[in-house]
């Protein structure tokens, strides 16, 4: 997993609530047996029309916006457990997703793939979306060490929560398998005691 400490980037605003993982990566793209290539199809049915032409109304296709931060509406990532959604977002180049609420499985999947879910208050989210839309060149700073998200130059900043263990993993690029394998003896002892 790639290490994450701080990020300064512009952001893409996605003003939609309850974005489910079927929209992030539709089921028909889940037939691959490796993790590569999902970025090409992230938000496929919102990015492209049925005839394959580009949907110019969609935020990812708006030339004003760029960056590795996705700022979405409330309750992002609900629905299917498909980790392909996280692979699609990281494959496209996102490193951070900001929302006022994340679905549980998506949040876990994101953290396991070096994609940082930053949960902010509804008022902060509203203000942030407005700022990006009015001034697309706005640079946002995400500092995992300090657990803060802030907009450079203006007085907009908030701290966010993250599980201490997951924070350590992200900062150091560790993953859970390394940790669990180090616990083999304890796991076997548990099995023996419960068999």
């Amino acid at each position: 997993m790639e290490k994450f400490t701080t990020l300064n980037s512009r952001a893409i605003p996605l003003q939609i609530e309850n974005v489910d993982t079927d929209q992030i990566i539709p089921a028909r793209f889940l037939k691959a047996t490796d993790k590569k290539g999902f970025g090409d199809n992230v938000f496929r049915d919102w990015r492209y029309q049925k005839d394959g032409s580009v949907n110019t109304d969609f935020a990812l296709n708006n030339a004003n916006y760029s960056g590795t931060i996705l700022v979405a509406g409330d309750n992002f990532g609900c629905g299917s457990s498909r980790e392909h959604a996280a692979w699609a977002l990281t494959g496209y180049g996102f490193k951070v997703v900001v929302s006022s609420f994340f679905a549980d499985i998506f949040k876990g999947n994101a953290l396991n793939n070096g994609l940082l879910p930053v949960q902010v208050s509804e008022s902060f989210l509203k203000e942030l979306l407005k700022t990006i839309e009015n001034t697309p060149e706005t640079v946002i700073n995400v500092n995992l060490e300090a657990q803060t998200i802030s907009v450079n130059n203006i007085n907009l900043s908030e701290s966010f929560e993250i599980d201490a263990y997951k924070k350590t993993c992200m900062i150091n690029g560790y993953d859970d398998i390394d940790y669990l394998l180090s616990k083999k003896a304890v796991i076997e002892a548990f099995e023996n005691a419960n068999s």
């Binding site: 489910d20 299917s80 457990s81 499985i105």
Partner: protein, 460 residues
């Protein structure tokens, strides 16, 4: 200390606790399928890690499987490759596999309970969000991502922070024609799609106590649709009777010993939950959804609400519905009875009971897709197939089918489908398709009438 059902099962599976961090939770049963496992197998292979406990893993092929001509090679090359990959991975790692054509093949959440693999007090995971289904047995069962599939392969454990507890109670007498699907659609419509996020839910009250195991599975299946990691119902005599005698269930004395333990699992009286909701059974009626998430449900007799927000409007625009409109008499050309929510024998009995002696409307394409080979056999043995055939319904072969349209069973662009599945997301049943979630009874009635009707009028 007084404990909830969830506490009892969780605490019994904690291997270790990281200070100020997650816990190491032991997983009794790991179910896998072809879509979310290949990358996990690759990960293990790349890192040179063996599968730790292959005999606690059970695999099935379900998401990509065709529902016709299952004896022939799969036409879709990518689907075929994914299924072959699953078979290869399972053989290589000595994992029990019910591949296409096996007598126990079926949807992962239908197959495991009917084989007695699912038992009370267990922890179960699968790379599929509807793993919550198994909570119907008093099991902690939840969906995981592929990285976690790899973790369980490597260690039979997961690193998890204990979720908070939620109890949803429904008491009273359900009205005629109100099925378990209506109960859960009603609950989600009242609570919304994220009310359960961060929680594990216990369903309590006489409504669930009086429900069959099939009904309880339907309810727990959709816990994820209100955001909960899982749903549970306390094991009782109904549960024990269902498990007893099944292929992988303990037998004889071992079974009795298990039952004695299972009887200790229900929530202690006076145990507290982090959040509680309660509903009156009499308030529930047959339900349908009008929008693009499962929380957008109404009683079939109600009108679509009027709301002023962008996401709501976007949703109605996709469905081509108007705020304030009624869905009664809306013509429907597709009906799907299937999915891990409603493809068990009881669902087909309900449908057959309504359909018997009637004919499918000419405009309707009606797919009946059993959840497993065993359900398929039951449908034939009980004579339900004859009823479906005579009425013009199409009984297909088992699989996930038009629930998520990874196989050929896709609803065409712009068409409406009254579906017994669990999700009405945009494009879920095929690009541009429009899904209306309902019970098997409402779905059967829609197929017969060719339009949505007020089923309560026909029943009373």
């Amino acid at each position: 200390m007084k404990k909830t059902l969830f506490d009892k099962v969780w605490d019994a599976h904690v291997v270790d606790t990281i200070e100020n961090g997650p816990q190491v939770l032991y997983i009794d049963k790991h179910l896998i399928h072809e879509v979310t496992s290949p990358q996990a197998f690759n990960e293990l292979e790349d890192r040179g890690i063996p599968v730790f406990r292959p005999n606690q893993i059970v695999a099935t092929a379900d998401h990509n499987t065709p529902t016709q001509n299952q004896d022939q090679p799969i036409k879709d090359q990518l689907s075929r490759k994914q299924l072959e990959q699953l078979s290869k991975n399972c053989h290589k790692n000595n994992i029990t596999l019910f591949e296409l054509g096996h007598k126990y093949n079926g949807i992962v959440h239908v197959m495991a309970p009917e084989l007695g693999i699912t038992q009370p007090g267990m922890t179960m995971v699968c790379g599929d969000s509807h793993t919550s289904t198994h909570g119907a047995f008093g099991t902690i069962a939840f969906g995981i991502g592929t990285s976690q599939v790899a973790q369980v392969f490597a260690s039979q454990c997961l690193l998890l922070t204990k979720p908070k507890s939620l109890r949803v109670s429904v008491n009273g007498k359900l009205k005629n024609g109100v099925l378990p699907k209506d109960v859960i659609l009603y609950i989600i419509s009242k609570l919304g799609t994220n009310s359960g996020t961060g929680y594990f839910c216990e369903y309590a009250g006489n409504v669930f106590e009086e429900m069959s195991m099939e009904g309880r599975m339907t309810v727990c299946n959709m816990s994820i649709e209100m955001g909960a990691r899982g749903g549970m119902i306390a094991p009782d005599q109904t549960t024990f009777d269902y498990v007893e005698g099944r292929e992988y269930a303990p037998k004889g004395e071992a079974f009795d010993k298990k039952v004695a333990h299972w009887k200790t699992l229900p929530t202690d009286e006076g145990a507290t939950f982090d959040k509680e909701y309660s509903f009156d059974a009499e308030d529930i009626e047959p339900m349908i959804t009008y929008g693009t998430n499962p929380g957008m449900g109404i009683k079939i007799t109600e009108n679509i609400p009027v709301e002023d927000n962008a996401s709501f409007k976007k949703s109605l625009e996709y469905m081509n519905f108007e705020a304030g409109e009624s869905l009664i008499n809306k013509p429907i050309n597709y009906v799907f009875i299937g999915s891990c929510t409603n493809s068990r024998i009881e669902d087909f009995r309900v449908a057959a009971n309504f359909i018997k002696g009637k004919q499918k409307a000419e405009n309707v394409t009606a797919w009946l897709v059993p959840g497993s080979k065993q359900v398929e056999s039951q449908i034939i043995e009980e004579g339900l197939k004859d009823i479906f055939d005579e009425a013009g319904f199409e009984l297909r072969q088992p699989g996930c089918s038009a629930c998520l349209a990874m196989n050929d069973d896709k609803i065409p662009q712009g068409e409406y489908c009254v579906s017994t599945s669990n999700r009405n997301f945009e494009g879920r049943q095929g690009q541009g398709s429009r899904t209306i979630l309902a019970s098997p009874l409402v779905a059967a009635a829609t197929a017969v009438e060719g339009k949505i009707i007020d089923i309560t009028k026909q029943l009373n």
